[in-house]
């Protein structure tokens, strides 16, 4: 499995770091960008494979970091659900489900 390049967008630093820590030792990954809630969004991140984004900002966050080829996992505002990567995919927001979603994305990528 190749290393996933991940951007954490519109999340508080604490939640972003909790997500980061929860992924340690599970899959090969690298956090390429952490864009906090309310931070300046104009970024060009062409290498990003996955954007994990705070739920209420789904519509604006992905274009804002210019990562249009990235898969999106959005976390619901009440932190209970993960939506994505497919349009109908919805699971409870747990570490296991987050890792499973990232594995699916990684498996679909070219080696």
């Amino acid at each position: 499995m190749r290393e996933l390049h991940i951007a954490l967008v519109q999340l508080s630093p604490l939640l972003a770091d909790l997500i980061h820590q929860s992924l340690v030792g599970t899959i090969p990954y690298q956090i390429d960008a952490v864009i906090e809630k309310g931070a300046e969004p104009a970024r060009s991140l062409s290498r990003i494979d996955v954007v994990i984004i705070g739920g209420s900002q789904v519509d604006t966050g992905v274009p804002a970091i210019n990562a249009k080829n990235a898969q999106v996992l959005s976390i619901s505002p009440d932190l209970t659900q993960i939506d994505g990567p497919g349009s109908g995919d919805r699971t409870a927001f747990t570490t296991a489900n987050l890792v499973a979603a990232l594995r699916r994305i990684a498996d679909d990528l070219d080696p």
């Binding site: 630093p13 770091d17 820590q21 409870a92 747990t94 570490t95």
Partner: protein, 244 residues
């Protein structure tokens, strides 16, 4: 939402965060959040603190109270987005003085910090912290310290000054309770029956009934439900969560 109820997780391995806290050996912790991801992550992280031997998780106030009664945790972390979180913090402050209640994910504004401080917390972890910061902060809070911004310190000083100038109200009914009656009130709040209270305090059933009767009288209540300061009604989490 997946249920997370009283799942006590023992420490399994020493790890990287050791050395950041000074709490006494063989202590337990409790994480209260209705978000499973947070409960799981925070529990795993808290178990990295030195001397924390187990960490319980609760996703409702009721399960937290059961855990507190069973385990008497040294640390209780409350997710600030939990509905009625401040009420439970106040309740713990008044009834379980040995528990360090820490508000997790506080937005570091004057209003938010003051509201949680006035609820009776021992300290808070801002939502801008990293995990490493959070562990260091918990260690500092357990030593009676609280790093905060100069602005927050100024706000707290002003509030103390204002409070000290206010005339003190007469003692409320709860302050008129004897120590034993306060213990009985705490157990009533936990939902215990007279029989359970008698068993817990190792007193006769009739003595327990007498204490409960006195508590109800002093609280000017006719029913137990009236004196329960914190009940376990499940309330939907607010979407505007501070952590997110």
């Amino acid at each position: 939402m997946d249920a997370v109820t009283n799942d006590v997780r023992p420490r399994t391995e020493p790890d990287k965060w050791r050395g950041t806290s000074t709490i006494r050996p063989t202590q337990t912790a409790l994480v209260l959040s209705d978000v499973r991801f947070l409960c799981d992550c925070i529990t795993d992280i808290i178990l990295q603190l030195p001397d924390v031997v187990s960490c319980d998780r609760a996703n409702t106030i009721e399960t937290a109270m059961v855990s507190i009664a069973a385990n008497e945790p040294a640390i209780m972390l409350i997710d600030v987005a939990l509905p009625r979180g401040k009420e439970i913090a106040t309740h713990i402050y008044r009834t379980h003085t040995a528990i360090h209640v820490i508000a997790l994910g506080v937005r570091e504004t004057d209003d938010d910090v003051l509201a949680w401080v006035e609820a009776g917390i021992a300290g808070y972890v801002p939502n801008t912290s990293s995990v490493k910061d959070m562990l260091a902060l918990i260690g500092q809070i357990l030593r009676g310290e609280q790093p905060c911004t100069a602005r927050i310190a100024g706000t707290l000083l002003r509030r103390i000054s204002e409070t000290s100038r206010r005339p003190q109200p007469p003692a409320g009914p709860a302050e008129m309770l004897t120590k034993r009656e306060q213990e009985v009130l705490n157990l009533v709040n936990e939902g215990l029956s007279n029989k359970d209270i008698a068993r817990r305090l190792r007193i006769s059933l009739s003595t327990a009934k007498t204490h409960v009767h006195h508590v109800l009288g002093k609280m000017r209540a006719t029913r137990r439900a009236t004196v329960i300061a914190v009940s376990g009604v499940s309330v939907r989490r607010q979407p505007d969560t501070h952590l997110l």
